[in-house]
């Protein structure tokens, strides 16, 4: 009886022991997972803001393009530092076109004679509003927001706007 009892206790102890051990290893696994997550999160947070620092250093942001009268209707003016073309449409509205081809990212020059942007890389062409004239590019040239304060044209070079094609609400009017 006694020995039987002792045996029972022994089994129970072993059982508790096993449970305790699996409990401990589960805790260890959890803590390990947490540590990995923390390390990953800290690394991502550490590396994340480098981007904005770099764009701040470059002085990208709101760029003053000049007084409205300086830009003739139907003209295209290149701003090399801002990486955009300031377009004044025939009706007097403004667009700031990103100079990067939407196909594979080459810089598109404005060919004044042909009144179009022609990409040197794979021959995509865009009209003065940035709309695709010929493939392989599938999207219109991307835009920066334009603001006109007291007759001064300003371009927000922080945010690029992707678009499928030209729509009239994209134009900033005086």
């Amino acid at each position: 009886m006694v020995s039987w009892c002792g045996y029972g206790i022994g089994v129970a102890m072993a059982d508790i022991d096993k449970r305790r051990r699996s409990f401990m290893s589960r805790i260890a696994a959890l803590l390990g997972g947490l540590a990995i997550f923390e390390a990953g999160w800290i690394s991502a947070t550490f590396l994340g803001p480098r981007r904005s620092r770099v764009s701040l250093e470059e002085g990208l942001g709101f760029q003053v393009a000049g007084p409205v009268e300086r830009f003739e209707p139907g003209s295209v003016t290149a701003f090399r530092d801002g990486h955009f073309y300031l377009v004044r449409l025939d009706d007097g509205g403004f667009l700031a076109l990103h100079r990067k081809c939407t196909h594979l990212g080459c810089t598109v020059p404005w060919i004044a004679d042909e009144q179009r942007f022609t990409c040197p890389c794979h021959a995509s062409a865009f009209d003065i509003r940035g709309d695709v004239l010929s493939a392989p590019a599938a999207r219109a040239l991307e835009l920066f927001a334009v603001r006109i304060d007291n007759g001064i044209v300003k371009v927000d070079t922080n945010k690029l706007l992707r678009r499928a094609s030209f729509e009239s609400h994209q134009v900033t009017r005086v």
Binding site: R50, R51, V54, H83, C121, H122, A138
Partner: protein
């Protein structure tokens, strides 16, 4: 010969004890023939070591910023003793490594060395190949000349076409919307620390798995090599001397190339002026060529995804028999591979020409959306063609699954090679088709 014997009466005692840990004691005589493996795996290792030793020198000179990168390389080339040589060895080793690793992979496949117990090593090898490409890609930008700047622009823009994660991935890699200072630091850190460490780790695992599988796959007995039997010979000096010979010849070869052909350095990068044509590094030009023929969703996402899945799956298929060990598995397998290669050699250029001159960039039925006219339709046609090829050649040759899968693999590899060759040598200004001597 017993191990104890070998250790007692050989005069290489020191070398022996040093190398015995990593190398086998005995190797099968039949696996020693150079044309069995062409020593391609060993060559990859030698090239990697050459990259490390020249790279370690260059990190003391190179300055990772858009303002200083190009100048620091110019300084190294023009003012520093052996600067040209060291950069040249690094450049040629890197390009050779990509070619040699791909050939190594082909060798492994075509001798059927990717079945268990070598299956895990096939997957590890694919990981190595990926890392080697990343290494080449991140190194490409560092020179900061026109070629490298625009090649990386094009490649990262290709990434942007991946649905969902593409643009985020592109931003993370570039560290911004465009290539800039953050990109150079990203690429520099990846190229000089992260990727090499991963490569070393993966390579160690790779070599350990080769030993675990009992060395390279051993040729099966056929009429030709039956007399060779299944003799084992000591690693030292039989295989060791062969390895040293291949390694030394390769080093000499790279040195000679680096002396006579300087690593190119173009005009400094000019973000405002794209060169015409602008091409990806040669190992991604095949992808760029795909992009000229298919809608981006298919060219940079669906087709590569299908290929990667297929190359992984190929090691996990159920096969009819164990035919591994000999090149092209069997004489029948060799004939089938020849048919597959010829088919791809004829049809791929035909497809390129048709698409270029008869169909045009918009696709087959230009009234539908480009995703369908230039993506779904031609890709479906392609898939149907590939499946038809598989069934036809299997029936025609009354072949096993092993041989048929191999033929399909050859078809795809040769097809992609044709795309790459077209992109590198037959594309001129505006990516129009030209003869190589017209560019």
């Amino acid at each position: 010969m017993a191990i104890a014997d070998m250790q007692e009466n050989n005069k290489w005692g020191f070398v022996n004890s040093l190398i015995l840990h990593t190398r086998p004691v005995l190797v099968p005589a039949k696996a020693l023939r150079f044309t069995h493996t062409f020593g391609l795996g060993g060559m990859s290792l030698v090239l990697f070591l050459m990259l490390i030793s020249t790279g370690l020198l260059m990190i003391f000179v190179y300055e990772p910023s858009p303002e200083r990168a190009y100048e620091s390389i110019l300084f190294m080339q023009q003012e520093m003793l052996f600067g040209r040589l060291i950069r040249g060895v690094h450049y040629w080793s890197a390009n050779l490594l990509i070619a040699v690793a791909v050939l190594h992979m082909l060798r492994v496949f075509l001798t059927g060395a990717f079945h268990a117990p070598r299956r895990a090593n096939w997957i590890i090898g694919l990981g190595l190949l990926f890392l080697i490409m990343v290494s080449g890609f991140t190194g490409y930008l560092l020179a900061w000349d026109q070629i490298s700047y625009w090649a990386i622009t094009i490649c990262t823009e290709m990434l942007g076409y991946m649905p969902g994660i593409g643009q985020t991935l592109q931003r993370v890699i570039l560290g911004g919307a465009e290539i800039g200072p953050a990109t150079v630091i990203n690429f520099y850190a990846l190229h000089t620390i992260v990727v090499p460490l991963l490569l070393v780790a993966l390579m160690t695992w790779h070599f350990w798995r080769v030993r675990l599988a009992g060395g390279v796959v051993v040729p099966r007995d056929t009429e030709e090599n039956a007399q060779a039997g299944t003799d084992y010979v000591p690693y030292i000096p039989n295989l060791l001397l062969r390895e040293i010979a291949v390694g030394l010849m390769l080093i000499a070869f790279v040195l000679v190339i680096a002396i006579f052909f300087e690593a190119p350095l173009g005009e400094p990068a000019n973000p405002g002026l794209s060169p015409n044509p602008a091409k990806a590094p040669w190992y991604f030009v095949g992808l760029q060529e795909l992009l000229l023929h298919f809608h981006p969703l298919f060219a940079v996402f669906i087709i590569p995804l299908v290929v990667v899945i297929a190359v992984v799956r190929v090691a996990y298929l159920r096969y009819d028999a164990d035919l591994s060990g000999n090149w092209f598995l069997t004489p029948k397998g060799r004939r089938m591979a020849a048919v597959a290669a010829t088919t791809a050699l004829l049809l791929t250029p035909l497809w390129i020409l048709l698409d270029e001159y008869a169909v045009g960039p918009v696709g087959w039925f230009s009234s539908t959306a480009p995703v369908i006219s230039n993506g779904l339709l031609p890709c479906t046609a392609l898939a149907v063609g590939v499946v038809a090829f598989y069934m036809l050649i299997r029936k025609q040759f009354n072949a096993s699954k092993n041989e048929t899968v191999q033929a399909l693999f050859v078809l795809l590899v040769v097809g992609f090679t044709v795309l790459t060759v077209t992109g590198v040598w037959f594309r001129g200004a505006g990516m129009a088709l030209v003869w190589p001597w017209q560019t």
